[in-house]
């Protein structure tokens, strides 16, 4: 291996992690003068191997292991990707930020981001996730030995879509020739502003020019560009999005390209309302829904309960009548996580909104059996029970039968017991329902004790 090449280290066992880490250390000690600084930084990072990360109140994780380093001399940053095992619901980025010794010499700050790749270790159901961080360095004399000719930016995966684009040095608009004719419009916050925001210079400068463009109602390529800038600074700027749509229209812009823009902004802002609406508006205009299911799937893979992704998917599926493959997709998700209520909701949506087929007895029974099979896997999971109740609302006899049977075989399930208690109560079987309510209040679901006692007292 030449000193300029870095191998990708991928492993799923902790033994391999340790081996890989040692190898990396070795490689770092070789190399040109400019890399010595980097290697010192990284050695101190590596020493955090023995750190235990604390990310959720009740689970302690194993240490993070470094697997790959890439150095971008041009951009004076070092990208480090770490492999770790984390609880799927923990916030890995926050933990990493908190536990790594990032107060290192010459480091101006650390950017953390989550990469896309994710694997499931089925043995102990922890996720393996990669997080990366970049250490920015001040361009001091010491660091200046990093020659700007060499750009050794080698990334871990051939798909480097998660890498940030090269950070260009910001040039104030006033110094840009093509903006000479524009007079910036400052914000007038009055003599006594409240809840002022500590904008940085780049924000203020960009917004001054954005304000100018919007006021003059200019519809040009540079107007389009500045809406993009304003949006990146504040993705919730509803006026910037609205204005962008006007400019796209006036310029008769290439809409598929706009979808790419939306995708790139959406990666870092998966829960922003405006981005999703904008995508919907563009897709509708384009009349081309072909990329959309895949797009939602990518977001759902990052966050299986992303509300916006599911809403977008519902719109796409219903508009095009793409019901056939929906149940299969949902089932895949439920196999991965039976507690995913968004997937259950989608299932109900797919079953009931598909107008090409009636929800008859057969279908209801089929789906109920399906839900019960999943309820057995996790008796404490409320989702399939809500689904069963939703499907069989009218059929009290059937519900009672299901609950009786389940409660006998899985007596710890509060959901079967709760539904059974209510059904008995409605029929006037007070002894039985009281027995069940007491069981719930004292045993099965004591968190909601007050509620169970209240229910017992209802007529």
């Amino acid at each position: 291996m030449s000193s300029s090449g870095w191998r990708t280290f991928h492993s799923t066992t902790s033994r391999d992690f340790r081996l890989n880490t040692r190898r990396l250390l070795l490689r770092l000690s070789l190399g040109s003068k400019g890399l010595r600084k980097a290697s010192r930084l990284l050695k101190s990072v590596l020493h955090c191997e023995s750190h235990l990360l604390y990310i959720s109140p009740d689970k302690v994780t194993r240490a993070m292991r470094m697997v790959q380093v890439s150095i971008s001399k041009l951009h004076r940053n070092i990208q480090v990707l770490l492999y770790g095992r984390f609880h799927p619901r923990g916030n890995v980025v926050t933990s990493a930020r908190r536990s790594l010794p990032w107060r290192l010499h010459g480091v101006t700050g650390v950017n953390f981001y989550k990469t896309k790749e994710r694997a499931v270790d089925t043995q102990d159901s922890l996720d393996i996730q990669m997080i990366g961080f970049r250490i920015r360095q001040r361009p001091t004399a010491a660091c200046g030995t990093m020659s700007t000719n060499e750009n050794r930016n080698i990334s871990i995966m051939s798909d480097s879509s998660d890498d940030e684009k090269p950070q260009n040095v910001y040039v104030p608009f006033g110094q840009r020739e093509e903006w000479e004719d524009v007079t910036p419009v400052p914000q007038d916050d009055g003599p006594n502003p409240v809840c002022r925001i500590a904008y940085d210079d780049q924000f203020t400068d960009t917004m001054n020019y954005f304000r100018a463009i919007v006021r003059s109602d200019e519809r040009s390529p540079r107007a389009l560009a500045i809406t993009g800038d304003a949006i990146r600074l504040n993705t919730g700027n509803y006026t910037a999005w609205y204005y962008r749509r006007l400019v796209l229209d006036s310029l008769k812009s290439d809409l598929p390209k706009e979808l790419e823009f939306i995708t790139s902004i959406g990666i870092k802002n998966p829960k922003n309302y405006q981005i999703w609406y904008h995508r919907r508006a563009i897709v509708e205009k384009l009349g081309d829904y072909s990329r959309e299911r895949q797009y939602t799937e990518e977001h759902i893979q990052q966050d299986s309960k992303n509300y916006h992704a599911w809403a977008h998917r519902q719109w796409v599926v219903e508009t095009n009548g793409w019901w056939d493959t929906e149940l299969e997709y949902i089932d895949k998700l439920l196999q991965y996580d039976v507690r995913n209520n968004s997937a259950w909701n989608q299932r109900y949506f797919a079953i009931t909104r598909n107008k090409t087929r009636q929800v008859d007895q057969n279908l209801a029974t089929q789906e109920t059996d399906y839900a019960i099979s999943y309820a057995k896997k996790a008796p404490n999971n409320q989702s399939p029970w809500l689904y069963i109740k939703g499907l069989n609302n009218q059929d009290v006899g059937k519900l009672k039968e299901i609950c009786e049977h389940f409660h006998q075989n899985y007596p710890t399930s509060p959901h079967a017991a709760g539904m059974l208690a209510e059904l008995h109560q409605k029929e006037g079987n007070k002894t039985r329902s009281d027995e069940l309510y007491n069981l719930l209040a004292n045993n099965l679901d004591s968190i909601h004790k007050k509620y169970w006692i209240y229910k017992m007292q209802q007529e």
Partner: protein, 360 residues
């Protein structure tokens, strides 16, 4: 045993310390935020009015409004009012109300000339009216406010409601969902005039958005969610149409089973401090708050306290939204030192009482 003592006893330190420390650091946090919001809030520059609401209303809840200058706040808010164009009111008739902030460059002194693309946002109009009243804005002849153009706002609401019954937040094309149904209802309630909205249509949207588990989603077919459920039920309450709810016991069941320690926003999600308001206030509106396990909830909310404010979950940094929602969540359970709130309006009862009930 009073609610406060419960928290104090568990800390293990001398009884008064924990609570007093919490309140003092909270006041400091709020005072700081009322001056300057740190740089990351630049990403919410266009929603600045909502941030102001969280801070000011929080100060009101802990009875510390004297830490800010109310008159200055009132003046600042009125500078964000989008008024009908002085020459030709029809130019921007659909866009009147309040802006999120001066980010489009409007003149501080009421600029009555319609400027390109200047528009109000329904959530900013709602929070503007709320903060005005909290700061003690005096009533005028036709409304509870001194300088609000009530007619213009009521008229603009008509343009924001779509055929589905839901509301857009701005006059230009934009998303529509349950959040804005609530905003429309609360604006109408505060102005004492429901002529700007088609109540039947809004109610129909709410019913269509009710899920198979009796919670409400943001729209038809969508997953039941604490935030949208609050918006739906509070809107019904303000529109005097709570009778439209199809199955209150089932809804109450859904709401109560969202408590896992704190409240979760959806089935099987981790608890988040803001749902102590969204879910808690919904239960309060339905008269069933007494079924909440408040000691458990309180422990969770207090565990989210962070650097004077409150965060969404333990060990995370605070933000003004979760700080405000946590205070509301604590208020609903009678936590000492926090004023009682009006469930459907979301701010203190003594401010809420200043609005005449339009249904009497």
């Amino acid at each position: 045993m009073s609610e406060g003592q419960g928290a104090q006893a568990s800390s293990g330190s001398t009884p008064v310390d924990h609570h007093a420390h919490l309140m003092t650091s909270l006041q400091k946090y709020l005072k700081n935020m009322s001056n300057v919001l740190p740089r990351p809030y630049a990403g919410q520059d266009s929603n600045r009015l909502t941030l102001l609401y969280f801070v000011v209303s929080a100060l009101d809840l802990v009875d510390k409004l004297d830490l800010v200058d109310r008159k200055q706040i009132i003046d600042w808010i009125y500078a964000q009012q989008v008024l009908p164009d002085s020459e030709d009111p029809s130019k921007n008739t659909a866009r009147c109300g309040f802006r999120g902030g001066p980010f489009l460059g409007n003149d501080f002194n009421e600029d009555r000339k319609c400027v390109h693309h200047d528009q109000s946002h329904i959530a900013m109009t709602y929070t503007a009216l709320a903060v005005l009243k909290i700061c003690g804005d005096t009533p005028s002849a036709d409304s509870p406010f001194s300088r609000v153009n009530k007619k213009a706002i009521i008229n603009s609401l008509k343009h924001l409601q779509g055929p589905s019954g839901s509301f857009n937040p701005t006059a230009g094309e934009s998303e529509n969902d349950m959040r804005f149904v609530y905003c429309a209802a609360v604006i109408s309630y505060m102005l004492g005039d429901f002529s700007g909205i088609n109540i039947d249509s809004a109610v129909e949207y709410i019913l269509k958005s009710t899920s198979y588990d009796y919670g409400m989603g943001q729209g038809p077919g969508q997953e039941s969610h604490g935030g949208s459920t609050y918006c739906a039920v509070a809107a019904l309450s303000l529109m005097n149409r709570l009778d439209a709810l199809p199955n209150v016991p089932a809804l109450v069941d859904w709401l109560l089973t969202r408590q896992v320690s704190g409240f979760q926003g959806r089935v099987n999600k981790p608890p988040d401090s803001c749902y102590s308001f969204w879910i808690g206030a919904t239960l309060d509106i339905l008269g069933k708050y007494d079924l909440v396990e408040f000691d458990l909830l309180k422990s969770f909310i207090l565990s989210c306290s962070s650097m004077g404010g409150f965060a969404k979950m333990p060990t995370m940094p605070p933000d003004v939204l979760h700080t405000y929602m946590s205070l509301c969540g604590l208020s609903l359970g009678g936590y000492p030192g926090i004023k009682p709130i009006h469930g459907a309006l979301g701010f203190s009862r003594d401010v809420a009482d200043q609005f005449p009930n339009p249904w009497k």
